[in-house]
């Protein structure tokens, strides 16, 4: 019983004793990642170049969704992100960065949009008292 468990544990590990949880990928994972990336890149370009969807907002939503999915695909298949490498610290750093990026991006766009709208000389001055 315990011998089986040892064999199962030992399988697939290199002989270095200190396992850092890093994944170096395989031919299969790289090819899956590449295939997904090609599909996820080709569809947005096709949508924009041929104007396949009449509604512009739908096109924008689909393109952004594809970009997000493709970034996740790259993270998993090319950058080999997982929750165990370096005891989870790479994932912690990534989550922290994503939070900062979301705050900075959405904050900048939101604040500057409203600033822009309020600065535009669109008020009709003739009706002012």
């Amino acid at each position: 019983m315990s011998a089986d468990a040892h064999a199962a544990h030992g399988h697939g590990h290199d002989d270095h004793g200190h396992d850092d949880g890093r994944d170096h990928g395989s031919m299969k994972s790289y090819l899956i990642g590449f295939f997904l990336s090609v599909v996820l890149t080709a569809i947005p370009f096709w949508l924009v170049m041929t104007n396949a969807i009449e509604n512009k907002n739908w096109t924008i939503a689909i393109i952004v969704a594809f970009a997000v999915v493709q970034i996740v695909v790259h993270m998993i298949y090319f950058l080999h992100m997982n929750t165990t490498s370096d005891a989870g610290w790479t994932m912690m750093a990534l989550i922290f960065t994503i939070i900062i990026v979301v705050i900075a991006l959405s904050g900048s766009l939101w604040v500057m949009y409203h600033l822009n709208v309020n600065m535009m000389p669109v008020h009709d001055m003739r009706n002012m008292p």
């Binding site: 990642g33 590449f34 890149t41 924008i60 970034i71 790259h74 370096d86 750093a93 990534l94």
Partner: protein, 210 residues
């Protein structure tokens, strides 16, 4: 040398404290450190994306994305970067098997794809500047050249790094230090591809749709 400590009554068990940190093998924290660098690089790009998002509609009565961007060229560029990503992956797989020659070959192919990407981008920039749409023309173009140019500069330094490592591998083989360096460059290269996803989506595709 280390005589047992004699306590006064002779029965107390001495307590030891480990003063020195235990040994870390060389380079064991390099990957995490490099990842942290990439995350800080990610913040630089996030700021440039935010700038482009704010200024991307300020054409100053100049040319807009529809007049300037050639999506076929951008698609070709994207393909180059995607191909270079998979060939770098092949180089890493060969490195894991310890094959110097095929590792070098795939690294060389990766470098050529990177160079092709750079040439296409420089051609695009040259074309735009030739038409009078340089970074000085409008806020939109300033932020465009800053964002895409910063990415191109990263690719440039990535290629320089790649050539440096090919020389290193040629001279010293796939020693542990070189493997570590190649893994760092692998992360750098794939990271640049991730940033490019953002660029072609938010700058080119959404720009043309705008």
């Amino acid at each position: 040398m280390s005589a047992p400590i004699q306590t006064i009554n002779g029965t107390e068990v001495p307590v030891f404290y480990v003063v020195d940190e235990h040994d870390h093998p060389a380079g064991s924290s390099t990957m995490l450190g490099f990842w942290l660098y990439l995350m800080s690089d990610c913040l630089i790009f996030a700021m440039l994306f935010a700038t482009f998002g704010v200024l991307g509609g300020s054409y100053a009565a100049g040319p807009g994305p529809k007049d300037l961007f050639d999506l076929k060229l951008v698609a070709l560029n994207t393909a180059m970067l995607l191909f270079s990503s998979i060939t770098y992956g092949f180089a890493m797989l060969e490195m894991m098997k310890g094959r110097v020659k095929s590792t070098q070959m795939w690294l060389g192919i990766t470098g050529l794809f990177g160079l092709a990407f750079l040439c296409i981008e420089l051609y695009e920039f040259h074309h735009m500047i030739h038409e009078g749409a340089g970074p000085w023309r409008s806020a939109f173009l300033s932020s465009f050249f800053t964002l895409v140019g910063t990415h191109g500069l990263h690719v440039t330094f990535g290629i320089i790094w790649l050539v440096t490592l090919m020389v290193q591998v040629a001279r010293f083989g796939l020693i542990e230090a070189n493997q570590r360096r190649l893994m760092c460059l692998s992360m750098f290269w794939h990271f640049l591809d991730v940033v490019w996803i953002g660029v072609f989506t938010f700058v080119y595709l959404l720009g043309v749709l705008r």
